[in-house]
């Protein structure tokens, strides 16, 4: 009798499973695209959609990504690009948290926004997009605002949280919850032509250091706005950090803040350890 693993093995071409075969397998065996993907990856067969990932990561790495769960807090400028890139990379489960609906002033930069979905929930647009782009990814849309009260529940089961928030207050709360849960936080923030990124491990005080002068309210984004390219740059750097953390590869930004100025094309990395000593 033909089984899913045998079907997948027999339909693989050069150790890769073409998308059409993945669709056939799901239909024939009454399983999800995700289940077919897992069966393939477990047998060293790469779904062909990831073939350009291959030089950067192994099939086993791809399986690690598939079995990973990442929370993206905020689904606006940063969050849209982060969710898109995580889904295309092949991260198996993405939890996306945002209370808002799209408004017209989002259209210049927020990837999932369009004139057709103004007034619609951002997390629902994320679900539609990811379902279309990579149906093997499970996207969990949660239309709520992150807080100290619900934070632990929202991040349950996730091995990394990604900061795509637009509030310094809530960022500090997210950092606190991540430390309590013992998971790393990849932080990004933007304003105008400028942005910064860091990675905070549990017990580090990266966000408290970056925002140690903050007392209340917004940062300079209030006056500088947010053009289309800055969130894309900072979001991509955040996803690169997530990928390295999930695969235990490379060198991340722990203890360092990468500060980017796209107007001067100036990049600085500053040490943010021991600021309070």
């Amino acid at each position: 009798m033909d089984t899913l693993p045998i079907f997948v093995r027999d339909r693989a071409e050069a150790q890769m499973l073409p998308w059409q075969r993945q669709v056939e397998a799901a239909g024939r065996f009454g399983v999800t695209m995700a289940q077919v993907e897992e069966v393939a990856l477990e047998r060293g067969i790469l779904p062909a959609r990831y073939q350009r990932n291959r030089k950067a990561m192994t099939v086993s790495d791809q399986l690690t990504l598939f079995r990973s769960s990442v929370a993206v807090i905020g689904c606006g400028g940063l969050g849209g690009y982060i969710v898109e890139e995580l889904a295309r990379l092949g991260v198996g489960r993405i939890v996306v948290v945002d209370p808002d609906v799209f408004e017209e002033h989002n259209l210049n930069r927020q990837l999932f926004s369009s004139p057709a979905n103004l007034g619609h929930a951002k997390v629902e647009a994320a679900l539609k997009r990811v379902t279309m782009v990579n149906p093997a990814v499970t996207l969990v849309p949660i239309r709520t605002a992150f807080s100290l009260e619900n934070g632990s529940d929202l991040l349950a089961g996730c091995s990394i949280a990604v900061d795509a928030l637009d509030s310094i207050q809530v960022r500090l709360e997210l950092a606190e919850v991540c430390t309590a849960l013992g998971i790393p936080l990849v932080h990004g923030a933007i304003a105008g032509w400028f942005g910064h990124v860091t990675t905070q491990f549990p017990g580090d005080d990266a966000l408290q250091t970056i925002y140690r002068s903050w007392k209340s309210g917004k940062g300079v984004e209030e006056t500088l706005g947010n053009p289309s390219f800055t969130p894309a740059v900072i979001a991509s750097l955040e996803v690169a950090e997530v990928c390295k953390l999930l695969l235990h590869q490379g060198t991340n930004l722990r203890g360092r803040q990468l500060i980017i100025d796209l107007l001067s094309m100036d990049v600085n990395i500053i040490d943010i350890r021991d600021a309070n000593r």
Partner: protein, 74 residues
């Protein structure tokens, strides 16, 4: 005393990237920010000779002060 002031991101607009400026003894980081009309609410990381400092930090001859704005958007 001479202090090198380095401004980053939006702080450069209408000001400068790096300048050596003469200040009276006892000048603090807050004084420098005030003279450059940098609102305190916009100040993020402040470093003197690559060490993190606060507004009330008193500068010394030859110091290098770096000021970064607070970015909070997403």
């Amino acid at each position: 005393m001479q202090v090198t002031v380095k401004l980053f991101a939006s702080f450069r607009t209408g000001r400068f990237e790096t300048a050596r400026i003469d200040y009276p003894d006892g000048t603090t980081v807050a004084d420098v920010a005030d003279r450059l009309k940098l609102p305190h609410a916009e100040l993020g990381i402040m470093m003197v000779n690559n060490r993190h400092v606060k507004l009330e930090h008193v500068l010394a001859e030859g110091d290098s002060l770096a000021l970064f704005p607070l970015l909070g958007g997403g």
